[in-house]
Symmetry: C2
Subunit: 316 residues, 2 copies
Amino acid sequence: MRALVFDGQLQFTRDYPMPRVPADESLVRVVRAGICNTDLEICKGYLDFRGVLGHEFVGVVQEGAMQGARVVGEINASDGTCPTCLRGDATHCPQRTTLGIVQRDGAFAEYLTLPTRNLHRVPDAVSDAQAVFVEPLAAALEITERVHIRPTDRVAVIGDGKLGLLCAQVLQLTGCDVLVIGRHEKKLAILNQRGIRTTTDAPAIKEQFDIVVDCTGNAGGFELARRLTRPRGILILKSTFHGAQAMEFAPMVVDEISIVGSRCGPFAPALRLLERKLVDVESMLSAEYPLARGLEAFERAGAVGVLKVQIVIGDG
Amino acid sequence: MRALVFDGQLQFTRDYPMPRVPADESLVRVVRAGICNTDLEICKGYLDFRGVLGHEFVGVVQEGAMQGARVVGEINASDGTCPTCLRGDATHCPQRTTLGIVQRDGAFAEYLTLPTRNLHRVPDAVSDAQAVFVEPLAAALEITERVHIRPTDRVAVIGDGKLGLLCAQVLQLTGCDVLVIGRHEKKLAILNQRGIRTTTDAPAIKEQFDIVVDCTGNAGGFELARRLTRPRGILILKSTFHGAQAMEFAPMVVDEISIVGSRCGPFAPALRLLERKLVDVESMLSAEYPLARGLEAFERAGAVGVLKVQIVIGDG
C-alpha cells in the first residue's frame, strides 16, 4: 500500500506491506490525516520512531465490529489488564504502543489497525476535515480533564500554534478570562473572531495568572510561563520538544507553583464539542495535499505561519 | 542585645540594637531557636539576606496583647490587605517580610518582633525544645495542606534530613504506605522505631510511587524523585537550594507528572500534633549551644549526620 514512512528520513513508498489485523483490532481505511508538531519532532529524532508516521486521522472501518462506520481512533493501544490500565490510566499503560509514535504504524498510509475499543463513530454533522482535529482537540481537553479550571480564573495561553489555538478555545468555554500570547497576528485573529483576547507583546504583560498553559513547543516558552504564573498558580506543560532546559527549583518552592504535564485526552467530549460547533477548527486548516505529495506537505507544515496541514488519502 | 548576625559572614555580637516595635507587632523575648538548612543556605549566599538569622523559635511575649504568653510565631509578615492576602495566600504577600530570611531580623537574638496575629500560644504539654520544631513541622504539613494524600497512596520521601523525617512522620499519619530513602542508618532508625519503612539502597528500588517528596536539599534528589514518580503521579518539592538544574520537559508531559512546590505551612495543626504526641521531634535534637557559641552551633549543624541543633538564648 502507499505510505509515508520515517526510517531515519521521511519517504513516500507505494509498496509498504498491508497491516496484519490482530483479533481485538479493526482494519481502518484512512480517508484523511493531519500533520502534528510531534510528527515534525520525530523527523528530528524525537522518540527514535521508525515506521509509518501520523496519528490524527479519520477513516472507514474495513474489517471489524464497526464495519462501514466512519471513525476516529484514540492513539494509545493499551493491554487493558495491567495495574496502570485498571486504575484508569490506560493511556499510560507501560505495554502500550502509540499510533505513528511508539512501535505502531500510523495514519499516513492507506490502511491502519487499532484496537476496536479505541474507535469512535464520527457524527454526521462533523466533516472529515473537522474529524481529523479530534485527536489534538482531545489533547486540549486533557487540560480541563486534569486541572480544575474555575470560571473566575485568569488564564494565559502561550503559543499561537495549532495546539495553542485549540487550548484557548477549550479554556474559554469554562467562562474563564483567557489571554493568548503569540507571535502571528494572522493566527491570533482566529481567536479574536471568537472574542478571545490576544497579544504579541509578552514583555508588556505585568500581571500574573492563576493558570498558565505553555503551548510554545520550545524551551523558551517555559521561562515566560514561569514568570506569568502567580504564587500557588498552576503551570500546564503541553509542549513535547526534544532536549533539556535549565530550571531554578528554589523559586518554585518559595512560590509554591505547580507544574502539570498534560498529553493525550478524551475523544468523546472532543466529538461532542465539534458536533455542537463550540470549537472552530476549519479556520486552522492551512493546506491539503495528496499522500503522494507527503514530503511537500511536511515541508509546508514546518514553515512559519502555517497551521494545520492535512493529507488526503482516500474517499470518505 | 546579643545576636547572631549575617553580614556576608556570620558573627556573634553583644551590642546589636534592640528592635523597634511597630503598632501591630509584639516584642518577644526569645527562649530557644533552631538552625534550619535555609540558614545554612543563606550563609552560602541564598536570598542575599543581611541581619539577624533564625526563624524557628519559642519565646515569651514581653510587650503586646499576649504579654507573658509562651509563643511560637509564623514567619511571614504580610500586609493583610492586598489581593494576594485577601484570597487566602498571605504567606505569598508580595509585600511580606520573613523572619530571619527576607528583610526582617530573626530569632538568633535576645528579642524579636512579629505581627501579633502571627503568634500562637504553646500548650503546656509542649516543651520549649519541642516548640522550636513547630515551624519545620508546619512546613511538613504544607504537603497535606496542598496535596490530597490518600490512605491508599504509595508515597516515597527522599532525604533523611530534618525535613525528610518530619515529612515522613506527617505522611504516615494519613495511613498511606511510606518508604523513606536516605543515606544515614542512624537517622532512619528514628523512623523505623515508628514503624516507617526505610532504605539506603535507592538504585534497588524498581517500583514507582503515587506521591514522591524530594527533601534532599540538593539537585541530585530531583532526578531520583522523577524516576520514582509514576505516570500521573505527583512530585512534591520541599528543597530550597541555591542554583539551577537541567530538566527534560518532554518526559514530564508524556507521563503527565505534576510537580508541586511546597513551603511554609500552618502552625495550629503542628501544635495539635505535638500536643497529642503524634510526631516525635525530641529524637531529632542533636545538640544545644548557648547563643555566644552560635558560630560553633552553625558549624555543627552543617556537619554530616547531624540533625537539629538548637540555640538556647533565655529562660523559659
